[in-house]
Each structure stands twice: as C-alpha cells, then as structure tokens.
Amino acid sequence: MAIQSFHGGTALYDGKEITRDLPVKTVLPRGEMVYPLKQLKGEPASPKVAVGDHVLTGQMIAEAVGQDSAAVHASVSGDVVSIEERTLAGGEKMRCIVVSNDGRYDEIVYPESRHISGLTPQTIIKAVRSAGVVESDSFTLRDGVSTADKLETEHPERIDFLIANCMESAPYMTSDYRRILENPMKVIYGLRILMKMFPKARGILAVDERDREIIRTFRSVLKGETGIYIRRLSGRYPQGEEHLLVHTITDRTVEEGKTAADAGCMVFGVDTLVAINQAVIVHEPMITRLITLSGDAFLKPQNYRVRTGMSIKELIERCGGFAVEPELLVYGDTMTGIPVDDRSVPVTKLTTGLIALRKDRFAKIGESACIRCGSCIRVCPESLNPFLLYRDSFKDTPARFKRHHGMRCISCGLCSFVCPAGVPVADAVDKMKERVLFRTETEKEAEIL
C-alpha cells in the first residue's frame, strides 16, 4: 500500500527506462582536473598545496574554513598546474585548483579501515568532515550543505528518524537505482553508521512503490537486521523532496525557516550515505560521482562512475559522445537543472547527471500572459499560491512574499511545468528566495556591525 500525503504533485514522464537496466560503467579521465574551492555557502576552502606540487589521489589539497565550508581532495595523481578562476556549471567564476593528470592514479596511503562497532559520534563527524562530504541542499538548488555540519545538530537526542531517500524523483536520473541494485550494502552500512550516532533513531528506506527490484533487493539484504524499515511511497513527483518525505513518513511538518532536524528527522540521499560509509570505514574522501547521462542525444546513455574535477567536455567524449548534437544539454535533471553553454566546466561533488535532448521542444513555445487558470495553485506540493508568489517576485515585495509563505517553496518546478502560458514562475520564485535570504543575511550582518 503506497502512501501519499501531499496535495498536487504530478505524474511526469521520467525517462528512467533509458538507463535503468544498464550497469554502472567506470570511466577514468585523462585530461586536466579542476577542483573549485567553494562549494557551499561559507568561506572557500584554503589551499594546502602550491603550484608545482605533486599530489596523489585522495590527498586533501584544500581544507575547510569554518562552517559551511568543505575540504577538497584530488581525485587523480598529478601536478598542480595553477590556482586560478575558472567557470563553473552555474556560469559563476570561482577560484579553483587545477591539476594535470598523470594517468597513474597513485593513491595516498590510506589508514587501516575502521570497524563499525568501535565508532563514536565524534569519530564519525571527524571522518565525514575530513573526507569533505557534501550533499545538495533541497532549498536553494545551487549551494550544497556540509554533511558534517548537518550531523553536528544541536539536539541529537531528538532525532528519531533517519530517512534514506531512495525515491530518486528527479526525471531521467537512475544513479541511485543502479547503486542500490549493484551495491545495496554500502547504503545500508551508511545508514547503520548514522544509527550509531543517533541511537534513538529508526532507519527508514523511503522507496518508490513502483521500484519492485529495489524493494526486493533491500528486503533480501535486510534479513535479520533490526531497526531499519522499508517504507513504500507513491511515485508522484516530487515525493522525494525532503519536506514531503518527512511529512509523509512521520506526519510532522517542517516549519518555515526550520530544518528537518527540528522535526526530529534527517534525510540523506543514497550517494551521501555511501560517501559516509566510505569516509568513515575506509577513510576515502569524496572523489567519485555516479552520474547519469541520459536523454535521446547520447550515443551510450548510461550511469557512469567518474572522478570529480573532470570537465563535462571530456565526460561526454569518454562516454561515447553524442549520436546527434543536442539542442539542449542540461546539467542536472530536466526539472531543476541548468543549461550547459560552456562544456569546459567541471564535474563537482554535487553533480548528479547530464541530459542531452535532440529537440528542445519547449523553447519554441515561449512565454505569454498568465490567464489565471489556477493550474499552478492546484499542483503545488506545499499548498502555496505560485500565482501570488510570482507577482510578489515580479514586483519585488519581500514582505508580501514572506507573508504568502514563499520561503516554504521547495523548488520542485511544477508551477512552471504546468503553466499553459509558459510563465517562468519557478525561476522567478527561486530568484526571489535568494534575494530574501541575501537580504536577511546582510541585515543580520548589519546588526552585528
């Protein structure tokens, strides 16, 4: 029996059949690697190497500075070519450490593996932090969150649900699906490690009820394990959003301006759980990503295990290139991603996939006037009024925007998805959220000053 607890949402074409039945393929880059120093809201990481230094795979090349900052590691062995500004996928320019790839993949010497029984919360957090584990923030789509910061929550005794987000609501993405089928134990171990940190918590595997293979796999590996439960949820988009998961599974609401932890829950993606396992048990930093290359323009759409720092251009080449040059190349998924103009941008720890579409069917439709049909209101999973929020964003009235609960928006993109007039509602609301956050932070800074 599947449960769905939110209004709205929609079933959408998810493109999963293109890549879900193919195994993950490992691709080793040969070209230059680019590591951005800033991936989160806080200070950029501070480089520990200089131009000319030789680095090894897994070596920390920049260390975190304070909160909301994450360590950077080399994913190949080679020499540091420069520390300079490069363009990233969002179009922004950022200081990066550029490393030439000697192709040898010499690794640092890893310390002996830890055993789960000896773990303490301090060890876990320290290991996660020094491995530079980051995850995407469901609220603003650009910045990430330092997992170690997230784990260092103020009231760990209040956490009673640790939710593994196995839903993979994003269209075209199947990396979580493949990872669970091919390596379910890493996901379970990641969850187990966290359950040691939060002894009161139950482990929940939130799965899409249509993913029978996943449910079967989990059931078979969970035989005899206690404390971890499978919860089957409806596949309606965007059930996999953090706030909706919390509400559906625990019936609790995440209040505006608060986090899931305030509701006693922590939600982690599959890749984060695996990264936690790798960091804590074998001391491996976050240097590989499972990326889904999908859409109808790639020659070999599939999931690929790649190294962070690899350029999109090389990624496309090494994975077989295009069958047909795409009209649209998207970094991320088709609901929340961004278009790629400059293919020299690097793969980062937050990259999830690349979608190449032969035809950009909706570019030609263009934007026209709102007809007040109310579709956006009906579809919003957070029961907001996107029509009003669009107007507040357009007119830049932050007080009204907040009064209309604009800060509760989870950036699922459905309002723009259903709009028959092509009004860019989701984009406008996103930008307004950023403006409101920025204003709040500068106000806070002004107060301190």
């Binding site: 006037a369 009906r378 009003l388 259903v418 028959p420 092509g422």
Partner: protein
C-alpha cells in the same frame, strides 16, 4: 541564463482555447440547424471582427501579436452564440469589437480583464438596442422566447427546450448541444465542473425560496431557458474572470446561480444571466483575495 524546468505539459493557452472553441461547435451547429444559415453569418461576422479588432490593436500599440492564443476566436464565437438569430449584422460587428477592445485589450490583454469580454459586448448591445436584442424571431420561429411565454401565462414544451426547437439566442437554446460540448470540455480537463454545478444548486434553491413550488417542469424550464446553461457552463467558467482556487470557484458558482435566479424573479427573463455574470465577474478578484488571506 535560462533555467528549468525544461520539460512542460504540452498544453498551451492556444490548446486550451482551441478545445473551448470545439466545445462550442455543437451549439453553433444547433443554431444553424434551427434558425438557418443567417446565424452562421452572424457568428462569422463576430469572429472576423474579433480577429481584426485584436490584430489592429496589437499593430497600433506595437505589441507582439496575441492572435495565436485563439482567445479572440472563443470571444467571437461566444458573442455570436448569445445573440438572437436575426439581428442585423452590425450587431455582432459592434459587439465583437467592443468585446475585444473594451472587454479585453484595454484592460491589458488576456488575464487582466475583469469582465467577460463577450458579456461586455452583449451588454453594450442590450443598452443600445434592448428591443431588438429581446426579439427572438428567426427561421420559422416567432419573436417570443419560452420564458417570456411562461411569464405571460402560456405553457411550453420542455422537450423542445431541451433540443433547442424554440426561439432563443443562436447557441443558447439547445440544452443537449450545450451539455455535449460541456462534457467534452470537462473530459479534456479544461472545464472546472464546480462552477456550473454550484450555480445549478443555488439557482434552484433561490427559485424555490422565491415561491418556486414543487413543479419540476417549471424548474427545468427555468434552467433550460434564458441562456442559463450556456452562461453557467461556458461563460462563468472563463479562467480570466473567475476565481483561481477551488473554494473560490465553489463560492463563485453559488453567487452566480443565486444572482441569476434572483434576476429571473425580478422579471429579467432573458437578461438575468448576463447581468448576474457581470456582477459576479466584479466579485471574482475580491473572492481570490479573500480566499488567499484565509489560506
């Protein structure tokens, strides 16, 4: 930088308007069948004037052409359908031009208008030519509509009212044609059935309160006559002039039905629905604001 989503529902404003246009065709067909080819000329003039008016406005104001959303076609056809069958052709021309220019473009274009464009066109004609607008002669029919007959004490054949075999406006006489089109529109997900449904409920309730009695035939006659069905299903449901939220729409439906029934009891047999609609149009935005402040 363009941002997602990069996939969308394939339905555009133009698609929606086209579906509405299709749903009006049964009524148009019934009109031509009952009242002759002249009705087609009335509808044709209305459509053409709508097209030309919007085109000229866009050109003169140097705006991007808005014709591809086909809303002019819906306004043009609706106006034609709510006119009596033998009005002189300058009626649909004037009404349609007024509908497009004053009823829609002057407000800022589609979505920004407060009044239903076709209704405002008909309002102009009602003010200027009240007698001609209440003369339903056309084809083989005489000038007096079934409701007007009932008002002066004669009886009418309900079956005739259902099939449209009565004097009426071109497209509002045949309940069957209207319901067929409405069913199509509902099944394609365009029509929000709440507005017409709640209108029906309050219409009957208010009629009952004002001495309706228990004669079902009388109620059926009131529902089938005087453009009530057409207005409730095709005009009160216009997106731009009706509330956007579910509760808002239910309230709107209740108000429209009540206002129309009230108008009937006051003696506005044929025009009650248009006046009720225009009144409710004015209330649509306050309803939206009220619902939002409660949410």
């Amino acid at each position: 930088m363009k941002k997602g989503p990069f996939i969308r529902v394939p339905r555009t404003t133009g698609t929606i308007m086209f579906l509405v246009f299709l749903s009006l065709l049964p009524s148009a067909g019934a009109g031509i069948y009952h009242y002759g080819l002249y009705s087609a000329a009335v509808m044709g003039v209305s459509l053409l004037t709508a097209l030309v008016s919007e085109l000229l406005w866009d050109l003169v104001t140097r705006k991007k052409l808005t014709l591809d959303d086909y809303s002019w076609a819906v306004t043009g056809l609706v106006l034609g359908l709510i006119l009596p069958p033998s009005v002189p052709l300058f009626f649909p021309a004037a009404g349609s031009a007024c509908a497009i220019l004053a009823g829609k473009m002057l407000f800022g274009g589609i979505g920004k208008n407060i009044l239903n464009p076709a209704a405002s066109g008909k309002l102009l004609l009602l003010i200027l030519f009240r007698e001609a607008m209440n003369d339903f002669s056309g084809g083989s029919f005489d000038a007096i509509s079934p409701l007007q007959q009932l008002a002066s004490g004669n009886s009418v054949d309900l079956l005739d009212m259902v099939t449209g075999n009565v004097p009426a406006n071109i497209g509002t006489g045949s309940a069957v044609a209207i319901l067929l089109g409405a069913a199509f529109l509902a099944l394609t997900g365009v029509l929000d059935i709440r507005i017409p449904l709640f209108s029906l409920v309050s219409f009957v309730a208010v009629l009952a309160v004002f001495g309706g009695g228990t004669d079902i035939v009388r109620y059926a006659g009131q529902i089938c006559g005087g453009s009530f069905l057409f207005t409730a299903f095709f005009m009160a449901t216009d997106y731009a002039t009706s509330p956007m939220t579910g509760p808002g729409r239910c309230l709107y439906g209740l108000l429209f039905g009540a206002a129309a029934a009230f108008g009937r009891t006051l003696g506005y047999t044929e025009e009650a629905c248009i006046y009720a609609l225009l009144l409710c149009n004015i209330l649509a935005r306050p309803i939206d604001m009220g619902v939002n402040s409660v949410r």
